[in-house]
Symmetry: C2
């Protein structure tokens, strides 16, 4: 039986098609795939990604690495410039001791020194993070050689370099972000080579820039898309996912028709509060492409069925009916729930399984 | 020992002062207090609120009601227009059978009929929800009598009416929202009386409108603030909390100085992604009032220490230092974590306790 609303539902057929499509596209270009599991945090899905050809997985935190390694998925890149405290040093050492292949991000010489001081040289490899235009973490491309060289001299294995072109998350920005990333990684690779270091892995990618990266003359040897496994309203609006590809929705009940609008029992604690300035709403309805969530509280989504506002009550999905809401950002939505309700097909009446979101909340 | 960052830390001394200040202000006006526990979802804090004089608690979902009732905190208003399915009917019946005093929201005659059809008449009471200008759920004030009358005729106990003046969440909107709420509740109460029904409880309130509501000639007999127990960056910016009153922060480590800005290891999965259009950033730093989180990813907060952007690296808190970030919206931040780390005072080096966020994720 389906649980009481709101809950997150996976359309397994669509999700498997998404996994296969991305894996096949990378393989066809000879590019390795290392999907970011922060999106789903779920062992069953990580296994499917590896079975489809991923040569390893990407995580954001030591806690996520622990969860996936414990399930045997232990070829892991922590794509984050960790600052190693005693707790994280002990946990990374334990992962290495049990045979996990772990690489972590560094974007400064100080970060390298910290890692060495913590006794992790020879236990974990590093990848130097490059700022490719998103202006978050990451060193300038020309500084990459200095960071890599500090690591090499201290006995730390340098796997290569990575970037995240997060500035692809804006209208009409996807192709340019992929170009920016290719240029930054090219410059950073040259910076390593000038220090006599060969970057074995040159890693990039995001879901919105994925297709453009495959078309470029780019140095990338590996891509790390995350959201593509499910899709979400952001990708729909950016043109990086068709609505027919969206594989995760929030099943929500219509609890009110107040003001000629739908009020759903799924709020920001079910869908996530993400709303980039360019988004057309706080989320969408999969089966009503003109509808927009125009107001979001913790347990209420107010939906206008078409631009312009209120509708006649008779034109609204009836009170008590269940609709499928598409979160703006699926990664934060999944991180709110302890389980995903899995349907073999999206229109099945009865779920086939429930999967634990095993790495939910593992922020450190 | 403190856990590895990021984690949510409670300043117990400040929180207890917040609880006492709000309780004393309501008591001085003869208004009952029923704090909304969606903010903290924590049994220990609910007990402190009742000990300080709250005559019951407010929750948003059946799941939250179950958690608090199981701990003996069982005088509960579910301030939400529930649509009763079989699962929720069984769970509400079970709560009533064990002696919990439960009232639930209704904003339509159909909602009343549904409740009656589910066999809940005589087991739970209802409160009619009124739209006081936030335009979310809630019926028009003049329609309240019809809804209440439908309930009375079906043998459902009508406790009264309630509203949530959520439009107080905007600059300079707090006083007017309180006025709007008082007017809407006055009209709704008259609508009930015209049907021969006396509203025993006339309930309102939000944290930003709380102070203004106490000053008004208002019909409210009860207020339901939630956020006031902790405060957050939204309340700070709205003028509803002083920074010295903020009792919950996210302890985060500086992991990078990329681009002359701080990069913290607390992102939207630790702070929550909420950012209303009027907010000056994605969150703030408690000990650096000029600083703003200007960019937020799932595991990164990028902070500018003052308006205008980058700083000299020497002027930034050093790499590896821990800063206290203030979430924009504390309710969604708390809902991300399984425990709160409690310090007797905010500057104590060692936590005094860890409290379980017992109702985390209880959306249904």
């Amino acid at each position: 039986m389906a649980p009481s609303t709101p809950f997150l539902a996976v359309d397994l057929e669509r999700m498997q098609a998404n996994i296969a499509r991305v894996a096949d596209a990378a393989t066809a270009r000879g590019i390795a795939l290392r999907p970011h599991v922060k999106t789903h945090k779920t062992i069953e899905i990580g296994r499917m990604q590896v079975a489809a050809g991923a040569h390893g997985l990407t995580v954001a935190t030591v806690g996520e690495a622990e969860v996936f390694a414990a399930a045997g998925l232990d070829d892991l890149c922590i794509a984050y410039p960790l600052w190693i405290d005693a707790d994280k040093a002990a946990r990374l050492s334990a992962l290495a001791a049990r045979g996990a292949a772990i690489s972590i991000g560094v974007d400064s010489v100080e970060g390298v020194q910290r890692l060495v001081h913590a006794g992790l040289a020879g236990r974990v490899a590093v990848r130097v993070e490059i700022d490719a235009g998103h202006h978050r973490s990451g060193c300038a491309p020309a500084a990459a050689g200095e960071v890599a060289s500090a690591a090499m001299r201290a006995g730390v294995d340098v796997e290569g370099i990575f970037a995240f072109p997060g500035h692809a998350y804006a209208p009409d920005a996807r192709a340019q972000a992929a170009i920016d990333e290719a240029e930054a990684l090219t410059a950073a690779a040259a910076s390593l080579r000038a220090e006599g270091i060969r970057p074995l892995v040159i890693s990039g990618g995001s879901t919105p820039s994925f297709a453009a990266s495959l078309e470029l003359d780019s140095p990338v040897t590996e891509l790390r898309p995350g959201v593509s496994v499910f899709g979400d309203a952001q990708q729909w609006e950016l043109g990086a996912a068709e609505p027919e590809q969206i594989a995760l929705t929030c099943h929500a009940t219509v609890v009110s028709h107040a003001g000629g609008r739908l009020v759903l029992d799924a709020g920001s604690k079910a869908l996530g509060p993400d709303r980039p300035a360019w988004a057309t709403g706080n989320g969408r309805l999969l089966d009503h492409p003109d509808a927009r969530i125009v107001q979001l509280s913790e347990h209420h989504a107010v939906v206008e069925m078409q631009a312009g506002g209120a509708s006649q009550t008779s034109a609204l999905p009836p009170l008590g009916s269940i609709v499928r809401a598409v979160p703006n950002h699926v990664c934060t939505a999944v991180n709110l729930v302890d389980e995903l309700v899995v349907y073999d097909r999206g229109d099945d009446p009865v779920p086939a399984a429930r999967w634990r979101v095993a790495a939910r909340g593992r922020n450190s």
